[in-house]
């Protein structure tokens, strides 16, 4: 008679892999520029200039001017996230499943990688040269269509103008993130839905869109955060004429007139909270999307 003996369950021994060393620079960077920097902002937002504990800086966030700055920043971020999201999704759809040739896809993806990182003075100048008062598109509207867009109420140095400028780096980011998600849609799903009698609309309504929805919403949150944190483009294009959080923040920390570093730190804290919610939401939605697309 044979007996089956089971060896006592061994505890998995901790084994340090040298592979972790490769990640050390990343963790060091994250510690210095995310953890320590954020902690510094949090601490300084509750200290006055003498280093005493105070809630005055946080209370300062309820000031009408600050509330207005947050409102405008959120408004621009929402507009550009929605517009960039929709345009980016349509372009990504066109190049991945829309049936355009491979070279068009390569060109769009390559330029999206470049333009999604474009910003600051260069971008501001590009839009001034294009749809500024003497921009060539403005001139074409005037000469060819007899339309004077600035007399019709358009202004590049307004919320609309700034949104159009932000859109330049927003929608390519959407293209870059949505293209792999669209590639993840399996042909078997389409074939199965067709076999079951679904038409194109029904396939998108009941299969593809629900699968892509977390990716779509997550990327739009990322676009929101991207626009919310932008400063250089807005400053170069509009100076201080549009009241944005990033511009108010820099004025409070570095300005001659509005200098109040404590309030600046509490503004930064507010931004960290909003950005944290966006990035957290993006991560959760992206995880959900990946789970579905891997099945």
């Amino acid at each position: 008679m044979s007996t089956i003996t089971s060896s006592p369950a061994e505890k998995p021994r901790f084994h340090f892999s040298l592979d972790w060393l490769g990640l050390a620079p990343f963790f060091l960077f994250a510690l210095l520029f995310i953890v320590l920097a954020s902690s510094n902002i949090i601490v300084r937002s509750i200290l006055d200039e003498e280093g005493n504990f105070t809630f005055a800086n946080i209370q300062g966030l309820t000031d009408a001017n600050i509330v207005d700055a947050y409102t405008t920043s959120i408004q621009i971020s929402l507009i550009t996230a929605l517009m960039g999201g929709v345009l980016g999704f349509l372009v990504a759809y066109a190049i991945v499943i829309g049936g355009v040739p491979r070279w068009a896809r390569t060109v769009i993806i390559t330029f999206s990688s470049l333009t999604s990182q474009f910003g600051g003075v260069t971008l501001a100048f590009a839009f001034v040269a294009t749809i500024g008062r003497t921009g060539f598109i403005t001139a074409i509207f005037k000469d060819v269509f007899d339309l004077q867009i600035y007399r019709m109420g358009f202004n590049l140095y307004s919320v609309l103008g700034l949104s159009l400028t932000y859109l330049y780096f927003q929608f390519p980011l959407m293209v870059l993130i949505m293209a792999p998600a669209l590639e993840g849609l399996k042909t078997e799903w389409r074939e199965a839905s067709e076999n079951l009698g679904a038409n194109q609309w029904q396939y998108w309504r009941h299969v593809a869109f629900p699968v892509l929805l977390p990716s779509l919403l997550g990327t739009m949150l990322l676009l929101f955060a991207n626009a919310f944190g932008a400063q250089a483009t807005a400053y170069a294009l509009t100076g201080g004429t549009i009241n944005l959080v990033t511009i108010v923040l820099s004025a409070q920390i570095r300005g001659d007139v509005l200098r109040n570093p404590g309030l600046g730190y509490s503004l930064a804290l507010g931004m960290i909270v909003i950005m944290g919610v966006c990035i957290g939401g993006y991560t959760l939605l992206q995880r959900q999307s990946e789970r579905w697309l891997k099945r």
Partner: protein, 113 residues
């Protein structure tokens, strides 16, 4: 026979145009340093300017502030808007560069067009 993907091409063209048109606008603007002429004068001036190569070595915070600092006059105008006004007023890209590196300050006319 496979249908021509009209809608896909439409979105690709719109997307590509949004990316390329502002770049073309910048190129077009840079070639109009002389009124009514297409010229490389602006590039020539840039390469002749010692400050350009100086800025390639190190852009300090001071240089940056000099280039983009909003004007001190009461009506607050952005750097880009100033740039455009100078272009309208002075008519040459050279004048604009002169302002950006702080070597010469032509009279600005802060009037809204």
């Amino acid at each position: 026979m496979k249908r021509f993907p009209v809608w896909s091409w439409l979105w690709v063209i719109i997307g590509a145009a949004y990316m390329f048109v502002p770049l073309y606008g910048t190129l077009d603007f840079s070639l109009r340093a002389k009124k009514g002429e297409i010229t490389l004068l602006a590039y020539q001036r840039v390469f002749e300017d010692d400050a350009f190569f100086g800025s390639m070595k190190e852009v300090t915070e001071k240089d940056w502030n000099k280039a983009v600092e909003p004007p001190k006059h009461p009506e607050e105008v952005s750097w880009a808007e100033r740039l455009e006004r100078v272009t309208v007023t002075a008519g040459t890209f050279g004048e604009t560069l002169a302002i950006s590196n702080g070597t010469h300050t032509p009279t600005l006319t802060p009037t809204r067009c």
